[in-house]
């Protein structure tokens, strides 16, 4: 069955540290890839997405992600985190088959210490 894995469930960083959150998926067909963020008390919102083309995509608030097809990965990065990046981050994969289903990973809770 198709699945999305986020191996880091909790990450704690100090401000200005670099961030990389892992995301791997299991599906052999064409996919669209997303990272969503949920700040405390707020709704899920889109950080960035990959459909095709340049595998390095840039999103809002200085985040970027790289799609590595051979590794079925779409890792999220930020060179220097801020306290305001404290949130839960979800990787999601849309299957480009007849289902067009969007499957989420289990999420990574990031705490940035001032």
């Amino acid at each position: 069955a198709q699945s999305v894995s986020q191996h880091n469930h909790h990450v704690i960083l100090s401000e200005a540290a670099s961030l990389e959150l892992g995301c791997n998926y299991s599906y052999g067909g064409t996919v669209n890839l997303f990272w969503y963020v949920q700040y405390p008390g707020q709704h899920l919102q889109l950080l960035l997405k990959y459909f095709s083309g340049d595998p390095l995509v840039k999103g809002i608030k200085g985040f970027e992600a790289e799609f590595i097809k051979s590794k079925f990965s779409f890792n999220l990065r930020k060179p220097s985190v801020q306290w305001s990046d404290t949130a839960e981050y979800f990787c999601a994969v849309r299957l480009m088959d007849s289902s067009y289903k969007l499957i989420f990973g289990s999420g990574t809770r990031l705490l940035v210490r001032p």
Binding site: V4, Q6, H43, K49, F51, S99, I103, F104, S106
Partner: protein
């Protein structure tokens, strides 16, 4: 900025009772989703509507859950009877099918606690 509206934000109920959640998607969004997010897990799709029609309800526990979108606009998700394991956040999302980016817009969710 247009938002997906959900109510109630919080619901506490006893097991075997009936509960209902309401969602009003962004105006013009034909595609509507109900997701369930159990604590510590990612959102799981329960049901997807295209206008008033169910497109995917393969993960909806149909013995106790039902969903409708009668006029293709707002939607209701019902649980009857509620069980302890139904405690979760119920998220509604919508998408403009004309939008090639495929972005989903989420509401703030309805948090259900079953005692």
């Amino acid at each position: 900025e247009a938002e997906v509206a959900q109510s109630p934000r919080y619901k506490i109920t006893e097991k075997s009772q009936a509960v209902a959640f309401w969602c009003d998607p962004i105006s013009g969004h034909a595609t509507l989703y109900w997701y369930r997010q159990i604590l510590g897990q990612g959102p799981e799709l329960l049901v997807q509507f295209q206008d008033e029609s169910v497109v995917d309800d393969s993960q909806l526990p149909k013995d106790r859950f039902s969903a409708e979108r009668l006029k293709g606009v707002d939607s209701t998700l019902k649980i009857q009877p509620a069980e302890l394991g139904d405690s979760a956040m119920y998220l509604c999302a919508s998408r403009d099918r004309r939008d090639s980016t495929g972005e989903l817009f989420f509401g703030e969710g309805s948090r259900l606690t079953v005692l």
